[in-house]
Point group: C2
Chain length 192, copies 2
DNA sequence: CTTTCGAATTGACATAGATCAATAACATTG
DNA sequence: CAATGTTATTGATCTATGTCAATTCGAAAG
């Protein structure tokens, strides 16, 4: 059942009672997105945050110069959304697109605020999640500063295991901030 | 009085009662650090997070290749520390060094856990702070992907106002992930 | 007002990665 | 299994930034 995977995720991060978990799952809704379809597009107001039950998605935006930049890949048991826009309740700047057929759960902004008040343990749950995301993101910055493409590609493959098979190379190149050509050359070197 | 600045900071982020604020400030301690002195060095276990009342500091680490990387500058009303190590309660990897004579407040790990239990509003306070830090950090990643040194330098100067006068250029170059020589050339271009 | 020493600048050259263009490998669809 | 479109690779250049070495600037100390 779909709620099981989010329940497990919550349990693995905080101590919650059955009724807390039930309160949380009771406000969730389900959505399916086919490969190539969008969960979110720029300009939309961001009413939800999404939890991936099954599938794979990418979050990206287009900058002033028209270049696309992938911010995040999301696979099973990840939360995904336009965090910034959701938090500030302003229109989104992101595209979130399914790379595979995906099933997600989502929570509404107002529901979440209500849950924070009724069950503050969920403040902790999201505080912990965002702390981890913050740390992971910092690693990504540092990796860019410290290392060349080759090392970063290896790092990427180990930190998103098996994702090379689920995501096209040009998306990985984009995430790493290099051209597909360069990534291709780097991968060739690795084979030798 | 030193507690006033942290009290203001808390009030500007969450609705707290007087007694909540008092509970929080009652566990804080004060510390002064002279220019060039260290608040934290690698290998230390991270027992505290610091709030800057006055002054300016930098947080950096040395990578495997011996290169230094500045992660954060901290000025008045910023929290600073080795977030990662504090959260996981493992030894620090960072240096935190005062760029100016600085006055700080700090909170102990166990005190903070206790406060989270007694006054969950502080879960929210820190959840909000880390959310903002997360968003700011994401901007930094994106900026690296999107822009060349010149634009990023300008962005840096606007987002850390007046810091050019407080921090040496080689530290700014380091933060931006470029060489001092390159930053120097970029600044020369900007003058013309 | 000089001396000193770290910081900033400048010049000459090296290089990782970008760009552009062509081709090859793969996958999807009729 | 052909046909078509998408993704990956390869080659030939170009460019932003790095590296190394020399010089100048500027602030602190005598």
């Amino acid at each position: 059942m779909m709620h099981q995977s989010i329940a497990n995720h919550i349990h693995s991060h905080v101590n919650v009672t059955e009724s807390d978990t039930h309160l949380f799952t009771s406000v969730l809704n389900e959505i399916s997105v086919a490969k190539g379809q969008f969960l979110l597009k720029p300009g939309t107001s961001v009413k939800h945050e999404y939890f991936v039950v099954k599938g794979c998605l990418k979050a990206y935006y287009i900058d002033d110069k028209g270049n696309r930049h992938i911010i995040q890949f999301a696979v099973e048991n990840w939360w995904v959304g336009d965090f910034d826009a959701f938090y500030k309740q302003v229109p989104s700047k992101l595209y979130i697109e399914a790379i595979e057929d995906s099933q997600l759960l989502f929570i509404n902004y107002n529901s979440l605020q209500k849950i924070y008040s009724e069950a503050p343990i969920f403040e902790r749950y999201f505080r912990i999640l965002i702390t981890k995301a913050f740390i992971a993101q910092r690693k990504r910055i540092l990796s860019t500063l410290e290392k060349h493409t080759q090392e970063r590609y290896i790092e990427f493959c180990t930190s998103y295991p098996n994702i090379e098979d689920r995501v096209p190379n040009y998306d990985i190149a984009n995430y790493l901030g290099v051209t597909p050509e360069n990534l291709s050359r780097v991968r060739k070197q690795l084979k030798n």
